[in-house]
Amino acid sequence: MAAPIPALVYFSSKSGNTHRFVTRLGLPSFRIPMGKDPLPDPGYPFVLICPTYADGEGRGAVPKQVIRFLNDPDRRAGIVGVIGAGNRNFGATYALAGRIIAQKCNVPLLYSFELSGTETDIARVRAGLAKLGRHQCSTAA
């Protein structure tokens, strides 16, 4: 059996940066809705990709919709890693949402990228997810 790549769950606001990144990855993914639509159920395991919306003090970094998604213990149990997105121009709060989620859910921060990512980011994340899939497979055996 081929090693499965973990499912991707992501949030992207109307500016669409993270959505464009995930589209270019070309992997199966679930988008956390912006409004009150039902939340996706990715099954186990999944990697969360989350942009950052922090103010200068770091408040509000994780979007409310993502908090709502992770507040469900069953769903949260499936997270195996997080990828943070942001913009270095925000200084110390760059990709802060990724760091917060990694800490709160006790999973590794796998990667961070800026805006909708570069070609290098896409290649590294694709390779990294494949590797993570192989690892998941060998520990499950």
């Binding site: 109307k14 943070g84 200084g91 590794p108 805006l115």
Partner: protein, 323 residues
């Protein structure tokens, strides 16, 4: 199109009824991030300033007058020019905030000057900014696009390029000094400006995308071609400006990589793909670290596969997520 302004009924802005939630989100972000140069202890840089050579001082002052010019344009022409094109009253309110913060930025450079430099040095640098052909060329290219009657979406393209690209030949220098533990308080102030410009570029780029998605495919292609050709034009000017400023100190090539990186980010703010390939856009890590201190780049993936330690998800109480 502007004639309709005269017949429009004056309406009081109602922030409890939003057409676009992004307006409130960005308004909140900008107002929380509000700052004034007085909050930064610039005078702590006086000793550090004294360690720079005369040429390094002149370069720094010139770079800052160049940035002052861009902020002045954005304050008095750029942001106001976007207001008649606003599609929601809340967008107009956000633009007034952007316009005012540009005035704060322009004013900040004068605070740096009055703390560190002599009147003679300052006057010389402002004269230089009026006479430098490359600086004047980029100002003109942007101002032409802002002219009344121009396409509202082209104006937004120019505005995003100013906010997210044109500043960076200048921002490079205080980040470089900061990476060498020089002028660190000045760098703190510049980081506040960089943070604001990032929100401005993001928001104006977002509004551009909302207009762009309503166009036909042919119109979209025309506008995209316009964006890339304006980027090429500005990039050409920026290259010359960079060489003139940074050749003597030997930093030109490093600055150019920073230009590529920021040009790509400006295009991403408009929803477009990057222009410069990764091999010419890998910024000096010391400059990246100066941009975002305390946030090292995370690449867990590049570690060796056998050393992965995947933490177990632990129960998280709802109140942990107190936002």
């Amino acid at each position: 199109m502007k004639d309709t302004l005269a017949t429009r009924i004056p309406r009081a802005i109602n922030w409890n009824r939003l057409d676009d939630e992004k307006d409130l989100e960005v308004w909140n972000r900008l107002t929380v991030n509000f700052w004034l140069p007085e909050k930064v202890p610039l005078s702590n840089d006086i000793q550090s300033w004294a360690t720079l050579t005369d040429h390094e001082k002149q370069l720094t002052i010139r770079v800052f007058t160049g940035l002052t010019l861009l902020d002045t344009i954005q304050n008095t022409v750029g942001a106001p020019a976007l207001m008649p094109d606003a599609v929601t009253p809340h967008e107009e309110a956000v633009l007034t905030n952007i316009a005012f913060m540009e005035a704060v930025h322009a004013r900040s450079y004068s605070s740096i000057f009055s703390t560190l430099c002599s009147t003679k040095e300052i006057d010389e640098a402002f004269r230089w900014s009026e006479e430098n052909p490359h600086l004047q060329a980029k100002a003109e290219a942007i101002l032409n696009t802002y002219a009344p009657g121009n396409d509202p979406l082209k104006r937004k393209i120019a505005s995003v390029f100013l906010e997210s690209f044109l500043f960076y030949s200048g921002f490079y220098l205080p980040m470089y000094w900061s990476s060498r533990a020089k002028l660190t308080n000045t760098a703190d102030l510049i980081r506040l400006i960089i943070r604001d410009e990032a929100v401005h570029g993001y928001y104006i780029g977002y509004k551009f995308q909302r207009g762009y998605e309503k166009l036909t495919e042919a119109e979209q292609q025309e506008l995209k071609d316009y964006a890339f050709s304006l980027m090429f034009e500005l990039y050409g000017i920026e290259n010359q400006y960079t060489e003139e400023l940074y050749d003597e100190i030997g930093l030109t090539e490093d600055v150019k990589v920073f230009l590529h990186y920021n040009a790509n980010k400006a295009l991403q703010n408009l929803g477009f793909e990057a222009l410069f390939p990764p091999e010419v856009s890998e910024v000096n890590p010391a400059i990246l670290a100066a941009l975002s201190p305390d946030s090292e780049n995370h690449d867990f993936f590049s570690g060796s596969g056998s050393s992965y330690v995947i933490g177990k998800a632990v129960a998280t109480e709802d109140e942990d997520w107190d936002f």
